[in-house]
Subunit: 182 residues, 2 copies
């Protein structure tokens, strides 16, 4: 089984090493991990970003499943590119798993970033927009997309020391996938 | 043609009115707009969020196209729920359009929110993670997903006074859809 390894891991300064660790864990569980940076792209090309898109899409189409790193990225939600890929994989009927190394619920993350107010029982952000408040880790489309098209989002009880690199929750996703295979 | 109206518009205090305006513009161009809040959900139910997910998914499956409001939301990228839905619609083979009422490129948005540094020609954020820098409006998966599966992202030359409510770019998406129909 081939697993597409989605996540903002590709933006880490040690992205190549992170990809290697993830692929190794996949192998240990009998899977093949496909990491976006395994695609060789000439970043100096004028159409580099389109080449990356096409290569990622081809990798996703080739994969049977996705494990998405949905740890918050530059805001209260997961990385936009990763979320796009999760939606795409759900749409393509693939088995979808994900993990989030920040155990806070979405409303608490927003409240820690900006001043929120309550009005008529609803939580509003600084701009007066409603803050989704269903006790979920992120936007309901992400959380329930996983619930209904794969396995429930894996979240540690406490945040690890290095949320963008810690792979314990990633490995729990591999265990979930392995248990479905039996 | 039925168009799913994706966007953080549902979080506006005047979401119902925004949905009504969008549906009316759709009608004027000969389309049927499907707005998530048209689904009647009992928000007090214990499984309200799952009911919303199922209703949105059913609406997307019923639609022929999506117009996504990809204006930045609580960070430098588009709303996570909307991005999930865009990815899903691409995966389902629907016609995908979107608009973004913030004409700044992604790297500039990040640089305005946090202190960035350059190293070896690469832009890094506060945490030392690479900032995507292809001169695009948002993550390349979003931008090129639209390029290859619908119409290029519609972006105004200058930001309108009320980016989350201004519908000029939305109407340009409707014109694009109408011109494809001919």
């Amino acid at each position: 089984m081939k697993i597409y390894l989605a996540g903002p891991d590709v933006f880490l300064p040690d992205a190549i090493e992170t990809g290697r660790r993830k692929r190794e864990l996949c192998e240990r569980h009998g899977f093949v991990g496909l990491f976006p940076l395994d695609n060789v792209i000439d970043l100096a090309a004028h159409d580099a970003s389109m080449k990356i898109f096409r290569a990622n899409r081809a990798m996703m189409d080739q994969a049977d499943a996705v494990i998405a790193n949905l740890t918050p990225f530059r805001g209260p939600s997961a990385d936009a590119g990763t979320v796009y890929e999760l939606g795409y994989m759900v749409g393509r009927g693939k088995l979808c798993l994900g993990y989030c190394n920040d155990p806070r619920v979405y409303r608490d993350r927003v409240a820690q970033i900006q001043r929120t107010t309550e009005r008529d029982g609803a939580l509003l952000d600084e701009a007066g927009l409603l803050v989704e408040d269903f006790g979920l880790i992120d936007n309901l489309m992400i959380v329930h997309g996983l619930d209904l098209h794969g396995c429930p989002l894996v979240v540690p009880d406490t945040a690890p020391a290095d949320p963008q690199r810690d792979l314990a929750a990633f490995e729990r996703c591999l265990h979930l996938l392995a248990s479905r295979r039996r």
